[in-house]
């Protein structure tokens, strides 16, 4: 993993001083009583209200908070990249003893890149798709005053890419962003961020769009790299586990204020503020056990697995069984008639016992969502069968299939896309009832009220529209809608992945309570092993279309058999950290 980095640099004035020499100096970055407001049509919104923080040379500091806490706004204010109408209305930001608030545009531009680098959040949209990677790094060098000929710059670009962990850097520099995976793009962005040897690197959710194993590799590499260069890093993240693992000083923000800050270990082991306590308690990577109530049902998960270990015959207790399920997609080629086959799901077997949760875990492209869509009947399997209560779904008549729809319902990932914005909450929840001709108008309204109670939302919510609700509330509505027809199976496709930690914990608890109350079976599709431990009884780990490991949750976490599963578990941020009760 460790790469040797040459510190001899064309631009000598930016050559970093080793961190040790400045150990006892003054802070590199000091923010005092920072106030930031946004002007909107409805008035002024104070996004950041009196934030104090300091970063010492070579130190790593993390700001943790949920969406809307003001963490990104604070970081963007440092390099004057506030979006839209955002303005610093008070306080000071000093960097290396120099006041940054009120600098003119030229001075700020000089500062960006050469003194303070930025690694942005989304590797998919932060590289310009029409330019070669090398050109984009070269541009960063030129913009920050790199003196040197064309050939020297090209050599430097290759050096930077190699440093960021890209093999075969010279060839890579001539490629376009679309030829790279998300992880490689993020490495290129890190190379751009560090191109001019800045003293401070702001990493704004640098890996939240990436798979966990990739995330771990990139963060490890970033850590080694910045340690060798003596660069201070300011992490912005929503993940407390990741923050605690990567930074020595933590700052927890909530609603534009710092609620707690201090040494990472101390915050984790001894959180003082109510909010931090909740956060530590809910962080999925830190919480270690299945939300209780599964065991109250009195069935031992191990017994269940024994029942279908030989997947030749579906036992009565399995509500959904997939046998040798395969899906091949035809990918259209460049010429008509030319096409290639892509096997998304390759002969998988799994069984979902009644009243329990089976988690299909895998990274992007592992075929887990394709498998879920086949269970939902949205995709036709190329071969293999889905048995529902022992009956082959493919052999059912149209009428039977329509009836089956009532018994299997999905909840999707994106809380902003899963509800029709033109429908009121009432209409959204009532739609399945109307479609399947359940009851009359009055009984349907009563049912909608019941369902809202069930997902712990006030009944008055039914007059609202999705745009007025938060992500967690929308996800509750989506669950209520899915439950309207009293299904037996819910397919939860990354249903909590887009939510803030506290909200995520609430939804998981809600799902768990509903399962205990209604005897639901969940097929839980996720990339996040940490969440699996909280909700699932059984786990099937998928990789490249196949199931590589299928066991009870405890077995998978305590005694993973496959190397891939072990890698996945090791990559959970904060997995190795200990927290106090």
């Amino acid at each position: 993993m460790t790469t040797t980095i040459s510190l001899t640099d064309g631009s000598t004035e930016d050559a970093p001083v080793p961190a040790e020499k400045r150990e006892d100096g003054s802070p590199l970055l000091e923010i005092r009583d920072l106030q930031i407001s946004f002007t909107t049509a409805t008035g002024t919104v104070d996004a950041v209200r009196g934030v104090d923080l300091s970063v010492y040379p070579g130190q790593s500091v993390a700001i943790v908070g949920e969406s809307g806490s003001g963490k990104s706004t604070t970081a963007h204010a440092i390099i004057d990249l506030l979006p839209g109408t955002g303005k610093v209305t008070g306080g000071s930001i000093t960097f290396g003893g120099r006041e940054l608030v009120g600098l003119n545009r030229k001075e700020t531009e000089d500062l960006r890149g050469s003194e303070i680098g930025l690694v942005p959040q989304d590797p998919m949209s932060n590289l310009n798709p029409v330019w070669r990677i090398g050109t984009q790094i070269d541009e960063a060098l030129v913009a920050n005053g790199f003196q040197g000929s064309k050939a020297e710059r090209t050599a430097r670009v290759a050096e930077l890419l190699g440093e960021a962990g890209l093999p075969d850097a010279t060839r890579r520099a001539r490629q376009y962003p679309h030829e790279f995976s998300g992880g490689i793009r993020q490495r290129a962005l890190i190379a751009i961020g560090l191109a001019s040897r800045p003293k401070l690197l702001i990493a704004d959710e640098p890996t939240s769009a990436l798979d966990v194993t990739v995330q771990k590799k990139i963060l490890d590499h970033l850590e080694v790299l910045t340690a060798e260069l003596g660069t201070a890093v300011l992490f912005i993240t929503h993940d407390l586990g990741l923050a605690a693992e990567r930074a020595e000083h933590l700052i927890v923000m909530y609603k534009g204020k710092i609620v707690e800050s201090g040494p990472a270990a101390q915050i984790l082991q001894d959180p003082q503020h109510e909010y931090t306590k909740r956060l530590v308690a809910s962080a999925p990577s830190l919480a270690s056990r299945r939300i209780q109530s599964a065991h109250e049902r009195g069935t031992e998960a191990a017994d269940l697995l024994a029942g279908h270990a030989d997947e030749v015959e579906a036992t009565v207790s399995d509500v959904v069984v997939a046998k040798d399920l395969t899906k091949v997609f035809h990918i259209r080629g460049s010429r008509p008639g030319a096409h290639s086959d892509f096997t998304a799901v390759d002969g998988i077997d799994f069984a979902l016992p009644k009243g329990h949760t089976l988690a299909l875990v895998g990274e992007s492209g592992s075929g887990k969502s394709t498998a879920a869509n086949m269970v939902l009947g949205l995709l036709e399997p190329t071969s293999g069968t889905v048995l529902f209560d022992g009956k082959d779904v493919a052999k059912m008549s149209r009428k039977e299939q329509f009836a089956l729809r009532r018994r299997v319902q999905p909840v999707f990932q994106n809380p902003y896309g899963s509800l029709d914005p033109t429908y009121s909450v009432f209409r959204s929840i009532e739609e399945p009832l109307a479609l399947h001709r359940v009851g009359d108008r009055k009984s349907r309204e009563a049912r909608v009220r019941d369902l809202l109670d069930m997902v712990s939302l006030p009944q008055a919510t039914m007059r609202r529209f999705p745009n007025e609700l938060s992500g967690g509330q929308r996800q509750r509505i989506a669950i209520a809608r899915a439950l309207a027809l009293e299904p037996e199976v819910l397919v939860l496709d990354e249903a909590v992945s887009a939510l803030d930690v506290l909200v995520q914990a609430q939804i998981l608890t809600l799902l768990n309570d509903l399962q205990a109350e209604l005897g639901l079976s969940y097929l839980f599709i996720t990339h996040d092993l940490a969440v699996v431990r909280q909700i699932a009884d059984l786990v099937a780990v998928m990789k490249d279309g196949s199931i590589v490991e299928h066991a009870t949750t405890d077995e998978v976490f305590d005694n993973p058999q496959q190397q891939y599963t072990q890698d996945l578990l090791a990559a959970i941020p904060g997995a190795s950290l200990e927290i106090g009760g």
Binding site: S54, H249, V259, R405, S418, T422, S424, G472
Partner: protein, 320 residues
């Protein structure tokens, strides 16, 4: 990873800080506000528009034109044709003839008022036809995709490639009586392509939403999903374009009538008046001014309205 990271003593200013509990109150996570009135997307768009002066200006302009086109007689006692006396040809503006008279001795003020009807009628009819035809074709092409899309899109391209005015001239020259309806039908039969393309694009972006997949999983038929979920969510760009297109169709009608192949000369229209006024442009250019100004006023009203509507319905401007 340095092993001793957590053992280091905190540096100055980095000790353990805890905000006072009363300073940051942690409320119920994710509480729903139940006090405000519910707002749908459309209601929010309306609230946004009603704060803009441009909306009220353009709405007033459109209202004036529409009222005049419905009851032109309420604003003048003179008639556009029967009151004409050749003896009072080319009179300058006076108390009797506010805008003066044209070569035939007709009152220009009355003719300008009565001309509104033809323009508004052709504009509204053409836009209605275009929206129905274009939306249908675009929505089917975008939603069903595959071969349906290929065929419908190529047909759209063929119509798109035909020069709009040229095609209208050719077809109108063989139409026996060129009524407002006939002109609107001809304009619509070549003017639907842009709206078909807009609809197709909007439908493509809406149909991959998860609420559409959720409806499929409920067993809803494809046609029902298109009608109940996809089309309502694609409506915004269609409405925006239609408002602007209404103005441009009025211009197209005036152009064709000016060239003598639009509305029959028996219909009072701004295009026709511009055409007749042209013969005296050297001596009395003001005769052309009034119908031209009325035309510009009307078209400006619709185009400005289109701008306001676009701003209000722009998904990026909408509150999440």
């Amino acid at each position: 990873m340095p092993e001793n990271r957590y053992d280091k003593a905190p540096r100055p200013g980095q000790g353990h800080f805890v905000a006072a509990p009363e300073d940051v109150t942690v409320g119920v996570v994710d509480a729903v506000s139940v006090d405000e009135a519910p707002t749908s997307m459309w209601r929010e768009a309306w609230r946004d528009m009603s704060h803009r002066p441009l909306f009220w200006i353009s709405a007033f302009m459109i209202l004036v034109v529409v009222v005049i086109s419905i009851v032109p007689g309420a604003f003048t006692s003179l008639l556009p044709r029967s009151g004409c006396e050749l003896g009072s040809s080319l009179l300058p503006p006076s108390s009797e003839h506010i805008f003066g008279t044209d070569r035939n001795g007709c009152d220009i003020y009355a003719r300008t008022l009565f001309g509104a009807r033809a323009s508004v009628l052709v504009g509204v009819l053409t836009t209605s036809f275009v929206v129905v035809l274009g939306t249908t074709i675009g929505a089917i092409a975008g939603y069903y995709g595959g071969w349906t899309d290929t065929i419908l899109s190529r047909i759209t391209d063929v119509f798109f490639a035909v020069p709009f005015v040229l095609a209208a001239i050719v077809i109108l020259s063989i139409v026996p009586t060129r009524t407002s309806l006939a002109v609107a039908l001809v304009l619509a039969s070549f003017g639907w392509t842009t709206i078909a393309r807009i609809t197709r694009g909007a439908v493509l972006s809406v149909k991959n939403n998860e609420f559409v997949t959720a409806s499929k999983a409920l067993g809803m038929s494809r046609a029902a999903i298109l009608w109940r979920h996809v089309l309502p969510n694609s409506a915004a760009p269609i409405i925006v374009y239609s408002t602007v297109a209404l103005g441009t169709f009025i211009v197209a009608e005036a152009t064709l009538t000016f060239l003598g192949i639009g509305l029959d000369p028996s219909t009072v229209s701004w295009g026709g008046d511009l055409s007749t006024g042209r013969s005296s442009i050297r001596t009395n250019p003001d005769i052309m001014f009034y119908p031209a100004a009325a035309l510009a006023f009307t078209v400006l009203g619709f185009i400005m309205m289109g701008d306001v509507v676009r701003d209000a319905l722009d998904p990026k401007a909408r509150k999440r």
